[in-house]
């Protein structure tokens, strides 16, 4: 509150010449960022909103078509399919990923020797995870003649083309996302370091088991961090594109089993010359993500505990 008061005071004060110069410098420093925001982000956002109400085939100028694109969404079976695939992906992979991240963070927090090394080793996948190279690697591992099948072959188990079977293709992508648990793990680690050791000491003295300590101390005190990771990873997962694009060769196949929302959007826009509808789809995705984030914040009131 005091900081806010200070800001308000600054804003309303008459402001002598020196202060004005300060503002100019500030604006000058902000300019590159501001220009970038306007040109690279805000401009296209506004344009895509406008295009959402047009029929635009990329080559000829867009034609206004009112609410046609929105009406079309209701009867578009492949859109519904892609929503289903995306929801499964988000709501299976994000919890698994966070559990893996938290579990390893707790293990590493035990003051392991060579912590820095392990931390880097586990963090590495999340730097690589959404890259094309890793998606190509995934194709190799889960392909019909891939690494996984070779390992299974040692045990005499006949494999199959995991990424080209609609029953298992999405699972391989979920595994890929879970594997990139490093980023939330590092944040969890930082959060765990903030929890005063004396709480645990006191609990031990009182005879609380490790599990009880975890439930009663770690989870509540870490809940803002869990919340932060949850929001971030859900948003991130909704926007997944590269992995599915590379693994399915851009088709969302086999049989639309990996048709992520973004992939369908891309297909409409760039493969089928349907940019007006694709723009509308982009806005629907924004609304969906905003909706889930709002639900998250609303639910947070019930389980996130702030220490201050």
């Amino acid at each position: 509150m005091s900081a806010l008061g200070e800001l308000q005071r600054l804003g309303t004060s008459k402001g002598g010449p020196p202060r004005k110069r300060d503002n100019k410098a500030a604006f000058l420093f902000l300019l590159p960022w501001f220009a970038g925001l306007l040109l690279i982000t805000a401009g296209p956002i506004v344009a895509s909103l406008a295009l959402s109400f047009t029929d635009y085939n990329l080559i000829q100028p867009p034609e206004f078509n009112g609410l046609d694109n929105i009406n079309r969404m209701f009867s578009d079976e492949r859109l519904h399919r892609s929503l289903g695939v995306t929801f499964i992906y988000v709501f299976v992979s994000v919890p698994l990923q966070l559990i893996a991240a938290l579990g390893l963070a707790i293990l590493l927090d035990r003051g392991l020797r060579g912590l820095a090394f392990y931390r880097s080793a586990f963090y590495l996948p999340s730097l690589l995870g959404s890259s094309v190279a890793i998606a190509v690697l995934w194709r190799q591992i889960f392909g019909a003649e891939g690494l996984l099948n070779q390992i299974l072959g040692i045990f005499g188990i006949a494999g199959k083309g995991w990424i080209s079977d609609p029953d298992t293709a999405l699972s391989t992508l979920i595994v890929l996302n879970v594997w990139t648990f490093g980023a939330p793990m590092v944040i969890f680690l930082a959060g765990l370091r903030q929890i005063p050791v004396m709480y645990y000491e006191a609990a031990s003295v009182d005879g609380a088991s490790r599990w009880t300590q975890f439930r009663k101390i770690t989870v509540p005190l870490l809940s803002p961090i869990i919340f932060f990771n949850l929001v971030l990873q859900i948003i991130h997962a909704f926007q997944s594109f590269t992995q599915a694009f590379v693994v399915s060769g851009g088709t969302g196949g086999p049989s639309d089993s990996t048709l992520f929302y973004t992939l369908y959007l891309y297909e409409r826009g760039f493969s089928r010359f349907d940019m007006g509808y694709a723009s509308a789809l982009a806005w629907l995705l924004l609304i969906i993500i905003a909706g889930f984030t709002a639900i998250n914040f609303w639910a947070a009131k019930r389980w996130v505990f702030y220490d201050d």
Partner: protein
């Protein structure tokens, strides 16, 4: 027709310098596409194509030949495999950054031409001669009466057999002049069984329009009606998928996940190229690429069932086309290069039949003695088969047909849809795409 053109004219003028001058040339006043070719200052052209490694090497060689004649030209080749090519082309066209010279396919020709992305090559006739090219072939590159593309050559759908594998497993191939689909199934079954599953009899298809066209045409139907509507009868399409499903279930073709994985990979990784399948489908001129990848003896054979039907399923398809972007800054120079590709003996000697048996009569005649065994086999195949009239060019909006076909084949092979349901859904979806364009 005239309506479409005038709208396109207006849009093109708005769209870019290159297109605007091309239209001016159309009016006879002479513009960029008809202008004198710059042989003094540096000219950089971008040239994009899809294909296998063998094609990349030949094309690079031709570019070198051209540069020795026009030292001020720089030609940057951008080559990809088929699966990534079209996404990339759409993106660059949308970004107003299209390559100058574009290798075009029949499926996409109308979609790009009707939207004004391609130069009317008639405006560049000063530089780009078409006199030696057969008029039936030229006609396949016309949309609304304008020459938006020139076919590089002709090709035909065919079957390929790996002779070495047949010999190795002691299987007798039936007389492929008169064989039926039933014969194909039987011989494929023998190979799968004889090899103990190491080699599969037949490489499944269902991912290219050629196979659908052939299947429908053999039964007197066609994929599209002359006015560009989907005209395939659902029962015949259901039969097409039923046959593929039966092959897979009987082990005559690979298990579905393998089939799908190979269909998504480049030609060099297909069953025929890796000698893990004995019989497969191909466009006849792909034989050279398959043979190069396989290293074994591959031979072209006729499509099953052809001798039994009144209407041949086979047809001459323009294998691919050359086209020029309507927004090219150097349409005249691009036209000169395309002319070199089509009409010069030097280029013909290098390209041989890789992009189809040349439609240029002079080149084709001069080529005959220089062909390698596989190129000659491809050319002979064209002469040996009986063909019907070529199917209608893919309508604007239907360029996504192979993606739709592939998905329905996947759903059938994994038994998520019955062949009948797949047929109905396929027709409905394809027609929706055409209507929306």
């Amino acid at each position: 027709m005239s309506n479409g053109i005038s709208r396109r004219n207006v849009l093109s003028i708005a769209a870019g310098v290159g297109a605007a001058s091309a239209l001016a040339a159309c009016g006879g006043s002479g513009g960029d596409a008809a202008a004198a070719v710059n042989t003094e200052t540096p000219v950089t052209l971008r040239f994009t194509w899809w294909g296998s490694d063998a094609r990349h090497k030949r094309t690079a060689q031709v570019i070198e030949l051209f540069k020795s004649k026009y030292p001020n030209f720089t030609i940057n080749g951008e080559f990809k495999d088929w699966n990534g090519y079209w996404d990339s082309l759409a993106t660059t066209v949308a970004a107003n950054d299209a390559p100058d010279i574009i290798q075009m396919d029949e499926m996409y020709l109308a979609s790009y031409a009707e939207r004004g992305a391609l130069l009317d090559l008639g405006t560049a006739s000063n530089h780009l001669k078409t006199a030696d090219i057969e008029s039936t072939a030229l006609d396949t590159g016309k949309v609304d009466g304008k020459q938006y593309a020139i076919p590089t050559g002709l090709t035909a759908y065919s079957f390929v057999v790996n002779e070495d594998l047949i010999k190795q497993y002691n299987v007798t191939l039936p007389d492929t002049e008169t064989w039926s689909w039933e014969d194909l199934r039987a011989v494929g079954d023998q190979i799968s069984k004889a090899s103990g599953g190491k080699v599969i009899g037949v490489q499944s298809w269902g991912f290219d329009t050629g196979s659908v066209n052939v299947w429908l045409r053999q039964q007197g139907a066609s994929l599209y009606s002359p006015d560009g509507k989907v005209a395939a009868p659902p029962a015949l399409l259901a039969g097409y998928w039923q046959y593929l499903l039966d092959l897979a279930k009987a082990g005559v073709s690979p298990q579905p996940s393998i089939t799908i994985e190979r269909a998504a990979a480049a030609l060099d990784q297909s069953g025929m190229a890796t000698n893990t399948t004995a019989i497969g489908t191909a466009w006849n001129t792909q034989l050279t690429s398959y043979q190069a990848a396989s290293g074994q003896n591959l031979r072209l054979i006729k499509i099953p069932g052809e001798s039994k039907v009144g209407t041949p399923g086979a047809y001459y398809k323009p294998s691919m086309y050359w086209s020029i972007s309507s927004r090219s800054k150097h349409p005249a120079e691009a036209a000169v290069f395309v002319d070199f590709l089509l009409n010069s003996q030097e280029a013909g000697d290098v390209l041989l039949t890789d992009r189809g048996v040349p439609g240029n009569k002079t080149i084709r005649a001069a080529l005959a003695p220089k062909l390698t065994a596989t190129d000659k086999a491809a050319a002979d195949y064209l002469d040996a088969i009986k063909v019907g009239p070529a199917p209608r060019v893919t309508p604007n909006g239907a360029s996504g047909i192979e993606a739709i076909l592939k998905r329905h084949s996947e759903e059938v092979l994994f038994e998520r849809k019955t062949p009948q349901a797949a047929a109905e859904s396929f027709i409905k979806e394809l027609q929706t795409e055409i209507d929306a364009a």
